[in-house]
Symmetry: C2
Subunit: 348 residues, 2 copies
């Protein structure tokens, strides 16, 4: 355990696996953008008058729920897997993930004809489990609260000589996620819009880091914000402390995709210099954002995927100029979604 | 009443209002495409491995549920309203619609600063009623079974000197809908794909006509198919008879957007020469298509909006080459949607 953090949780020890890795830069993101051209879906930037009215500013929603596998995670996984050498391809890949990175790795590996093994928490949404299984990957289940999925994945990788594809703390994974930022920068430019801010959900911080690196060059006027569930505000506390802080708990939010223990080492090194702050909203705000997206954008968002929209709708993002919101994933079980959209809304 | 049709329903008398109207052509569609550039959303063409597997062919879904107002109807309404002269603008517009054209007209009129009055069936989904009301249009309700909404709308237009914006039987409305066809032709070309067929839901036939005119020039290899709910197969019967046949009933399908009494006069004149056939699927197939779109495309489709996807999933579209499917609208009440996606599916 390291030095104590602001609120008593601890500064995590350095991970020797990622310590020596170089930080990715803008050139890596543009290389990924060229590499993934034709492989990833160029997801649309959605608008709705009702959204602008509710958020009190022009809002542009980058709908990554429409990405292959239903989340942005396919970008980073593909960018990493496309660069494996022949020996690595033959050995196969291993990943640990609550479900979206799992599907991204499974799909990218399937497309490349590479074997994939995924370590997933036993309580992952069924839609995510099915999404991994139908792409031919092997699943190893673990308990979110009592077991260390990273350790399990590393052991499997070591045993099989397979390549571990980290869900965020990897330069090429971060570069792949950053391609979403290149796209929305281009889409905003085509609309003649200069964004004042961008907000994205923050789990391990890989998407945030990729977006921050892309926008530092392409939209330098904009402030970058993270968005986290109440109780999982590790980035907010880490930014305030200037070093990585852990969350006190590992479960208990409806945002199954965002219950990461702490910021990544690489991602935090990038984000602490480039991200203004991380903003927090509770599960009720996330449910309201899912309903709003159903009613006014006609997209399906999972709880974690609606996190950034939730802080935008709660008007927590500073400023009143054009705001770009990442809607990061749409993998949610039908029963959960049905229950959430059936909740009473103000105009019903 | 005119001559009897194949199954005993009648050939509809010529509507004097549309009789003298010229048919739109490809040049009108390209003019609309230029006119609407920057006004309409260039909706994405979505893919899913699971969809290709289920349909038995490569499928490309044009997601018009992501269009402004949640359906393609905004295209035609905007194209018509943008060409009103100052006197017409001052007089305002009137429309009759089950809800999607209503919202399209309300939004286009609102953007142009023009007063709009909409005649809607009393049983229209609440989300459609709210979508019209929040755009400042006045609503006149009528009974779908006992009243003639067209006659009511015409009386209002005459009384106020306002311009009636037909939901399909109008050259500029057809041309506006056709811009969706120009977009997906361009998007398929960018992907290097030559479509073998296109399938779209068919109510009055305006979108079908616009698409058929656009694809006749841009994708001449493709066959065009309509898709209709069981019991509302007026296009199928009309194509077989070579003249317009009416539906026996005016209500009773979950596809609230597709219960049009008969093909339009202009639209049928275009479609009978260019559309291969109209394909039919029942309400259960439509529900299954809505669930499929939720699970695998992460879009919200209303029943009518899932009609073409339903016939694709039921493998009713001839051929096995690339198929373009229009997903035309996503305006569905939360309770209805929740109930439909919660229905048991094969893999649950």
């Amino acid at each position: 355990m390291g030095a104590p953090c602001l609120d008593g949780t601890s500064f995590h020890a350095v991970n020797p696996m990622t310590e020596q890795m170089p930080l990715p830069g803008f050139a890596d993101i543009m290389a990924a953008h060229r590499r993934l051209n034709g492989t990833v879906v160029r997801t649309p930037l959605l608008r709705a008058e009702a959204l602008d009215a509710a958020a009190g500013r022009p809002v542009f929603v980058k709908a990554e729920c429409l990405q292959k596998t239903g989340s942005f995670k396919y970008r980073g996984a593909s960018n990493r897997i496309m660069q494996l050498d022949p020996a690595e391809r033959a050995a196969g890949v291993v990943a640990f993930s609550s479900g979206n990175h799992a599907q991204g790795v499974a799909a990218a590996a399937h497309e490349a004809g590479i074997a994939a093994t995924i370590v997933m928490p036993r309580d992952a949404p069924q839609v995510k489990v099915r999404g991994v299984r139908c792409r031919g990957a092997q699943i190893v289940f673990m308990d979110r609260h009592s077991e260390d999925r990273e350790a399990i994945a590393k052991a499997i990788a070591q045993e099989r000589g397979a390549v571990l594809i980290p869900s965020y703390d990897d330069p090429q994974v971060i570069a792949g996620q950053g391609t979403a930022g290149v796209e929305c920068a281009e889409q905003l430019r085509d609309l003649g819009v200069t964004a004042q801010a961008l907000v994205t959900c923050t789990g391990g911080g890989g998407l945030t880091a990729g977006l921050a690196l892309a926008w530092e060059e392409l939209c330098p006027e904009a402030s970058i914000y993270g968005a986290e569930p109440e109780g999982f505000d590790d980035h907010r506390r880490s930014f305030a402390a200037g070093r990585r802080c852990r969350n006190a708990r590992l479960g208990g939010s409806i945002c199954d995709a965002l219950m990461t223990p702490e910021p990544g080492r690489l991602t935090f090194a990038i984000n602490k210099e480039r991200v203004q702050d991380a903003l927090v909203a509770d599960d009720d705000a996330v449910r309201a954002a899912m309903r709003f997206a159903f009613d006014h954008l006609r997209i399906v968002l999972e709880p974690g995927g609606a996190m950034a929209l939730a802080v935008a709708l709660e008007r927590r993002v500073p400023g009143s100029g054009p705001l770009c919101v990442l809607a990061t994933g749409g993998n949610v079980d039908a029963g959960t979604f049905a229950q959430i959209i059936s909740g009473k809304t103000e105009d019903d």
